[in-house]
Amino acid sequence: MNCIEARGLRKSYGATVALDGVDLSIPEGRIVGLIGLNGAGKTTALDAILGLTPYQGGLRVLGLDPWTQRDLLTRDVCFIADVAVLPRWLRVSQAVDYVAGVHPRFDRGKAERFLARTVIKPHSRVGELSKGMVAQLHLALVMAIDARLLVLDEPTLGLDILYRKQFYESLLTDYFDATRTILVTTHQVEEIQNILTDVMFIHRGRIVFNRAMDDLESSCFEVEVAPQHLAAARALHPIHEREILGRRIFLFDRADRRALAALGDVHTPSLADLFVATIGNQAYAAPSQPHAQPSSAPNPDQGVAQ
């Protein structure tokens, strides 16, 4: 059974379409990055998955309807929906007591062991902690819950690099296993690139790119094209072309690696570059008619983004 299964998921706020027919299947045991610009529909998608907002279309999370069966779902789904949403008046010890009081899958000892590794004092109030410490506290609470799906919405925004690194390292070493699924959105794409098993780009309420990271390495290529091969490279339908310090960098999706190797040095592109290429094309191509976009790979004929 898939952990998350969406078919034609739609949601609009008045005239604004936040989700415009999202289809996705996320199996168990994956770490999926959902990447998009502000207002692309990331948070709305997560809200729908978490049963925080009603929606149209089909959506099943762990086999349950998240809107009508939310009270059942909350036992198996955890989320950190932003940094610093813990209330300022709450004491660390109270937070642990409360979660231990209401959550059937909370392991108090585990949370206390996680907290013991930090400098957070049990008697402190959240308002007295630094932003990084609040994130540590929240993560300690969430990792002590034996949930099957963990949703993270910008969990490290505004934290400094040490806390960000530590955050994802803890998740990987102390939490993640084959029975759990993690869905994460972030702006700091580079930092999560190495921990993801799957990546999705969302743009204007639609999933415009969806690939397992393993496939990505064998299907997406970045080529530094030698000047004499520029025309040949363009003939192979690159999804993006840019110039850095006089070198021309092309991005190809689902191209033949051997053919590309003849043009210049071939690398695996970074997620950030791939994102810019994909979304750049989308944003450039048809701002007035978003429905005309194909929902899978971008059309290679759409030319070069700025």
Partner: protein
């Protein structure tokens, strides 16, 4: 939408279809208990404010008592001093002051209860916990309707007990027969009357007021106080201008002033003989049940708003 009422979803079976290794059973009562505790953690003013007021009452009394002692020393007639002191008035006023203050605390608590966590976005944390919106709203409604009257009772009883000891000490020093004070002064009777008043008026009769405030709290993003005042004021004004009637203001006055002992002057509230109470008449009154039905409607509305309006910040 897929479901007509959020309230019905909590009645689904307790057993999760995906039983994990150690799913402890957590009853709704337990969730409710921790939700209540959470309210007391957040809103320390619920017990600090009445505590401070009780302290002020005692301090004021001590000041007055030492003045009295000076008057007695200065050769004043003891009976006249006692008249001046009027013990019963002091005790009643202390109880009335505490009730007034805790009503104000309950009023502002209700206005912020379902709004403050949306403003600081901590609702995102609370909603990540397996506590239904019904339990959340009920726990927040229980604070002004059940727990503030109980807190008022306990603090008043403690305050009056200390007052009695202080009065005895002061009057003993002045040569007054303290024993007669303890014999003639029926504090037990006063406490029974107080408890009856708190349960019937502050808990049951005022319940729709707090239900309404909670509904506004769940609805408004900011300025809950103004939003709470606007609809009743608008109805009163429109009714006056359009029909030149005052049914709605009568309705409000009835809710605020009437109740089981509506006709009783406040200083008589705790002194009247028990036979003045008419609990059966109160239980049979339509005013009580209309009010409770209205409370249920308001709270259902608050649950639905909490669910549908949810966490969206836009």
């Amino acid at each position: 939408m897929t479901t007509p009422s959020a309230a019905t979803t909590t009645t689904t079976t307790e057993a999760s279809p995906h039983a994990h290794a150690f799913p402890r059973h957590i009853s709704r009562a337990r969730c409710f208990y921790w939700s209540l505790l959470r309210e007391f953690w957040e809103h320390r003013s619920l017990y600090i404010v009445p505590g401070v007021v009780a302290g002020l009452i005692l301090a004021g009394f001590l000041l007055g008592a030492s003045l009295l002692r000076e008057m007695v020393r200065a050769g004043l007639n003891v009976d006249a001093a006692h008249q001046h002191f009027n013990v019963q008035t002091v005790f009643s006023s202390a109880a009335l002051a505490l009730m007034g203050v805790t009503f104000i605390v309950a009023f502002f608590y209700s206005l912020s209860a379902l709004q403050s966590d949306r403003r600081d976005r901590s609702i995102l944390f609370w909603k990540s916990m397996p506590v239904s919106d019904v339990i959340t709203v009920l726990s927040k409604a229980a604070i002004p309707i059940v727990f503030i009257p109980l807190i008022t009772f306990v603090i008043t009883v403690i305050t009056q007990w200390i007052l009695l000891l202080l009065t005895s000490a002061v009057l003993a020093g002045s040569g007054y027969n303290v024993a007669s004070l303890w014999i003639n002064f029926f504090l037990g009777h006063m406490w029974l009357m107080l408890l009856y008043h708190l349960l019937t008026v502050h808990a049951l009769w005022y319940a729709p007021i707090f239900g309404y405030l909670l509904l506004v709290s769940a609805w408004s993003r900011r300025g809950a106080f103004l939003w709470a005042m606007v609809p009743p004021a608008a109805i009163v004004i429109v009714e006056k201008i359009a029909f030149n009637t005052h049914y709605f203001s009568d309705f409000l006055a009835y809710r605020f002033h009437a109740g089981p002992e509506g006709g009783m002057p406040p200083n008589m509230l705790f002194m009247a003989p028990m036979s003045n109470l008419t609990p059966l008449q109160f239980l049979w009154s339509t005013g009580l049940w209309d009010g409770l039905a209205l409370t249920a409607v308001f709270l259902t509305g608050a649950v639905l708003l909490r669910r549908y309006r949810g966490v969206t910040t836009s």
